[in-house]
């Protein structure tokens, strides 16, 4: 009976695993928000900052009157991976029964959960993915407040060609959905305007040393702009290598490195003098004078430390909660009504600008998006190109 008894044990083991689900609270005036963030693995880079923003917003929203409702949040670790994200989104749907799900940060994981949420008729509010596919696939329940690849790359290409007078470019991007979409979003309009792309250089997220890449770029002749789509850590090393190879202004060269909205505040001081002359497109700008931005920074510092400055990841996550609270204040109480309120929203002010969703669920208001150039003292100088 050896095998049989072992199977019985295995079965017993698995029944024990029907672990007590989260008690869904009986209290009726609650809007439940499931938050899927990468909390383990390298993707936790986003999750940690996202959670900070959401926690802060929740504290503030709790004080406001939301039509008698309150927001209840459940975090889950979706690890930036499609398998983990589909597992956890099912778990959240089963056990927490959310009216809306915020997440994921990584494009692959966001795309993986979209059909599941669509089928469950639960709104997905995305604040970190750039892949075009998310809002181009016809999902009715997807809303995104993060600018997509085209919204970021097209202005970059225009500014490169028209304002910086660039005719040659080397595109650098990480080999991810986001990096590829951004790179293509730059290449097409830049080439159409008459620019020339000398090379498109991609790299995995595990690449650590960029000296060889910088050397190669230096051997390609005169490069006017280097649009770069990578995360902060790799960007810092990449800029330093490019400066060392005298490709960019920060190292005495003539090339201008250009970056996207993904690059958070703080990159410039981390990269040091290599960052001088870097031109980038920003949406959340801590130096912006709007009251909501300055209030957010004050509250963030009070909660997380006076020496810290929030990044766009903090800000986008913070904004998701403001947005949900606004929908609830206007009368939303379940998934359907949240969707309705989101669709009707016009010019709603948040820290990352104003929000008006288009028919596909993409925020179409880019009025605060602008360009900044890194100065010699590593501060930002606003450029009035929009």
């Amino acid at each position: 009976m050896k095998h049989a008894s072992i199977s019985v044990v295995a079965l017993a083991f698995s029944t024990v695993l029907t672990a007590a689900p989260f008690a869904v609270q009986a209290q009726d005036k609650v809007v439940r928000v499931g938050v899927l963030m990468p909390i383990s693995g390298p993707g936790s880079y986003f999750g940690v900052m996202g959670k900070e923003g959401i926690d802060l917003a929740l504290e503030q929203v709790a004080k406001a009157n939301l039509n008698g409702y309150r927001l209840q949040v459940q975090y889950e670790d979706s690890a930036c991976s499609p398998l983990q994200a589909t597992n956890t989104v099912k778990r959240v749907l089963d056990q927490f029964k959310p009216h809306i799900v915020v997440g994921e940060e990584c494009s692959d994981a966001s795309l993986a959960i979209a059909p599941i949420l669509e089928q469950a008729k639960v709104v997905q509010l995305n604040a970190g993915s750039v892949t075009m596919k998310l809002t181009e696939s016809g999902y009715k329940y997807v809303f995104r407040i993060f600018p997509n690849a085209e919204q970021q790359s097209l202005p970059l290409a225009k500014v490169a060609y028209e304002k910086l007078g660039a005719r040659t470019a080397v595109i650098l991007h990480e080999k991810t959905n986001a990096g590829i979409d951004n790179a293509e979003g730059f290449e097409k309009p830049f080439v159409a305007m008459g620019g020339k792309v000398l090379a498109k250089i991609d790299f995995g997220r595990d690449v650590n040393d960029f000296t060889a890449i910088a050397t190669r770029i230096a051997s390609l002749g005169k490069v006017d702009v280097l649009p770069t789509f990578a995360l902060e850590g790799q960007q810092v090393r990449l800029s330093q290598a490019l400066a060392q190879a005298k490709v960019v202004k920060g190292g005495g060269g003539s090339g201008v490195q250009m970056g996207s909205i993904w690059l958070p505040w703080g990159y410039d001081t981390k990269a040091g003098p290599a960052a001088i002359g870097y031109v980038r497109i920003v949406q959340f700008d801590p130096t912006e004078n709007r009251k909501i931005v300055q209030d957010f920074i004050k509250a963030y510092r009070a909660k997380y430390g006076a020496d810290k400055t929030p990044t766009h990841i903090n800000a986008h996550a913070y904004d998701t909660i403001l947005l949900i609270a606004e929908a609830v204040r206007r009368g939303a109480k379940d998934s359907e009504s949240i969707r309705e309120q989101f669709s009707k929203l016009k010019d709603f002010e948040v820290t990352t600008g104003r929000i008006t969703f288009d028919a596909k669920g993409q925020n179409s208001d880019l009025s605060v998006v602008h360009f900044v150039e890194t100065q010699k003292d590593l501060s930002w100088k606003g450029l009035d190109w929009r």
Binding site: M1, K2, H3, A4, S5, I6, S7, V8, V9, A10, L11, F13, S14, T15, L17, T18, A19, I39, S40, E76, D77, S81, P82, L83, T86, N87, K90, R91, L93, D94, Q95, D108, L111, A112, P115, I116, K133, S137, K175, T176, N177, I180
Partner: protein, 305 residues
């Protein structure tokens, strides 16, 4: 009714009851994953446990099963079963080819050749964008049967069938031959056993079974990206075999069940989850060197005395 029949009956009951005990879409999804992991652990155990070949690249065959079937279905409009069959054969043939090559190598060299094969397979998935879509991934993949419960019955049924097949195989003279090779290659050779051919056979069969597990993966997740098949996957499979008990039939099954459910059960621990998982893995290897299966037998033997 023999013990064996009783065991089979209990196993069938357990499989039949599982999706009704764990009756939510989430747990049913985990059950499918579990059945898939059982297949993978069985396949690896055949190679490592029964022929003593160290294989660190099993994730490659899992990936080949998943990608070949999905590409045939999505890009060429094939039917799932036909595409699945071709995918399993492809994984098996590649396994045979690697094994024929590996016949010259032993121990860690084979381990590394297989690890190298897995990394290259991963790189091909990443870079052969015309076919695999690379990091962009393939989306909107439907499972071969509708409903997670049906998918679980399908995969668990396949896993049970493979278990019985392998169980019969290791009890047959073929099993004796394989063990003879594992225990002592030189004397096995002197008995007139063609080592290379038998090792390649086991390796190829293991690869085909891993490919079989792979054809069900895309339907479960709906999304296929190369990252799902990194080398870490190979190590997870190996951990299932070791934790359960290598070289026994039931061991890998237990290992797969435990290591599929453990991370999910630990979700309540938040950030500590993976730390506990890592610690548990180390402690099991340290204190149950023969795996859970052997520890269980020992406990029972002591209880009888």
């Amino acid at each position: 009714m023999t013990r064996r029949h009783a065991a089979i009956a209990v196993a069938i009951l357990a499989i039949a009851a599982a999706p009704w005990i764990l009756a939510t879409p989430y747990w049913r999804g985990i059950l499918v994953l579990c059945a898939m992991n059982v297949l993978l652990a069985l396949s690896l155990n055949l190679v490592m446990g029964y022929t003593g070949q160290l294989n660190l690249g099993q994730s490659a065959f899992f990936a080949i099963g998943a990608y070949v079937s999905t590409v045939l279905i999505k890009s060429h409009g094939w039917n799932f079963w036909l595409a699945g069959l071709v995918a399993v054969i492809a994984a098996g043939v590649l396994g045979l080819a690697l094994a024929a090559f590996a016949a010259r190598l032993r121990g860690h060299y084979l381990a590394i050749a297989s690890l190298g094969f897995a990394v290259i397979t991963y790189q091909v998935l990443l870079n052969w964008e015309d076919v695999t879509q690379g990091v962009r991934g393939i989306y909107g993949i439907l499972p071969p049967v509708s409903g997670t419960t049906a998918l679980f019955y399908l995969v668990a049924g396949v896993a049970a069938a493979v278990y019985l097949l392998l169980d019969n195989l290791v009890r047959s003279p073929v099993g004796d031959t394989l063990r003879a090779i594992r225990e002592d290659e030189v004397s096995a050779a002197s008995l007139g056993i063609n080592r290379a051919a038998w090792k390649a056979f086991a390796f190829g069969l293991g690869a085909a079974i891993a490919g079989l597990a792979g054809i069900f993966y895309p339907g479960l997740v709906g999304t296929l990206v190369p990252d799902a098949f990194g080398i870490v996957e190979s190590f997870t499979m190996m951990a299932m075999v070791i934790v359960g008990g290598m070289g026994t039939m039931i061991g890998p099954v237990i290992g797969a069940i435990v290591l599929t459910f453990l991370p999910e059960v630990l979700r309540g621990f938040g950030e500590l989850r993976l730390m506990i998982y890592g610690l548990a893995l180390t402690l099991v290897v340290l204190f149950m060197p023969g795996g859970i299966a052997q520890a269980w037998t020992a406990v029972r033997a002591r209880a009888r005395r």
